[in-house]
Symmetry: C2
Subunit: 286 residues, 2 copies
């Protein structure tokens, strides 16, 4: 198949001021995404994951000549997903996105799996992440990438969290946004109900004295005793500057402390998520 | 003391075009930092850690009226560190840095502890981090913050890694750059020698089949058997896009795999560092 496709060269676009180019560039903004039902995907890693995992939602793919040479598989992957693969000049690629290394795609919103029932195939015990008031796109993308790597079943995104189709989220997820369900929740309360109705316990990280020490939980679980980490659970990740609110902490079924032995007061939220999700994976099969 | 100082108001600076303002703003650039021997520290969290941990290296502190009101302790902390505390208008603060929330300091390079022998007080067993070819300031700052939180003894920074005094590194470290030794290494080979001469084993993360599984290492160590994680060791963290080179992998005493059960091909380097450093801390006391 790839041989058949790679023998045809796509038509080249060269006018960086064309309407089509402006339309793609505008997808960095939330309102243009809402109006069009489209999203922009930038860079080789994210575009490859889109093409491999969500080919039916691809609208257009734009590649520079240099990118086709550097990533020869990308052209055939793109042509297998859509007939709308366009070769573009470097100027056109730069006008579409400053951050794409010559490889871009436009996809329909359905590239992101949002259905609530997508989480119902989760194995038991399963791990979820619930993000509330997460404002930094780099942190959200990194959390989604780690959740994917650590085998989480889905990420719940409460209203107030940055749009998951923001191109910086997509990029920093390294394409993991196309791998697991990312379920929007109209409110934090809705997320709590979603988890509770599925028997998933909500865990919040906290430095308070009542919180259970993560390292003790791991040691206990590895000795074969059941803990909150050996059953289905969701890690609640809050705002990067303020952490979890009193109300959010009160809604948790258990609080867990990540022990810290240095001078730092706290961890970056994506670092905390990495440690928590690794612990979940470590214990999931045991 | 704070009462005495907080009764005097510092003199206000109001000209955003003044030479002094331009000189501070230029410290975002590496050449201006080298020439002056100074660095810029932005935002309440980083400035607070500078004032608390490295007061003798503070040159000037700049605070807006609004910042003094929002962070009343900052003025007295600043005045305890230096007589050069300046109230500035919002315009002046904005001209010095776009990212300081009205709180900035200029410090001498010695604010960062660089001496090789600073690592010789390390407890045994101890944990180090060695960063080679790390290009992203946000990732480096996050790695330093996590190393600090997880009780690492020092971070080695090999030539080719982003300057640790880059203001984005300082900010994303949340001030942890002022907490633990950050030792520059003229080359990767020098870092290997530094560690070897101190009996510290170098560990690299790798997906290769010879690598030991991190989760197995944790389970084994928690059962009381010695592993590479129960002795002194250093985690080698490489370039964010390319990972560790063949040469870097060959220099490691052991290779370790972080198991991944989802579709992601890899983790962000700062996420990987968080998981590795947490594992080190988990086992350090056991």
């Amino acid at each position: 198949m790839s041989q058949h496709f790679s023998s045809e060269r796509p038509t080249a676009l060269s006018n960086p001021h064309a309407d089509r180019v402006k339309k793609v560039a505008r997808l960095v903004g939330r309102s243009a995404r809402s109006r069009s039902g489209h999203m922009i995907v930038e860079g080789p890693q994210a575009v490859r994951e889109l093409l491999l995992h969500r080919p039916a939602s691809v609208v257009d793919v734009y590649l520079t000549g240099a990118a086709i040479t550097a990533h020869p598989e990308m052209l055939s992957l793109a042509q297998a997903a859509t007939r709308w693969v366009h070769e573009v000049t470097d100027e056109v690629a730069a006008a579409m996105s400053g951050d794409a290394q010559g490889i871009l795609a436009v996809a329909r919103h359905e590239a992101i799996i949002e259905a609530e029932d997508a989480a119902d195939d989760a194995p038991s015990p399963s791990t979820f992440v619930c993000v509330t008031q997460g404002r930094d796109p780099g942190n959200l993308g990194t959390i989604i990438r780690t959740a994917d790597a650590m085998g989480a079943s889905a990420v719940l995104l409460c209203a107030g969290t940055v749009d998951v189709r923001n191109p910086k989220v997509v990029r920093s997820s390294a394409g993991s946004v196309f791998h697991l369900p990312l379920i929007p929740m109209p409110s934090f309360e809705a997320a709590v109900d979603f988890l509770r109705s599925r028997g998933v316990r909500l865990l919040g990280t906290s430095g308070s004295v009542e919180a259970e020490d993560l390292s003790e939980l791991i040691a206990t679980s590895l000795r074969g005793a059941p803990t909150v980490l050996t059953g289905s659970h969701a890690w609640l990740m809050g705002n990067e500057a303020k952490g979890l609110s009193e109300e959010e902490l009160a809604a948790c079924d258990s609080l867990v402390t990540i022990p810290m032995t240095g001078h730092a007061e706290s961890l970056n939220v994506a670092s905390a998520a990495s440690i928590c999700l690794y612990a979940s994976q470590l214990l999931r099969g045991r």
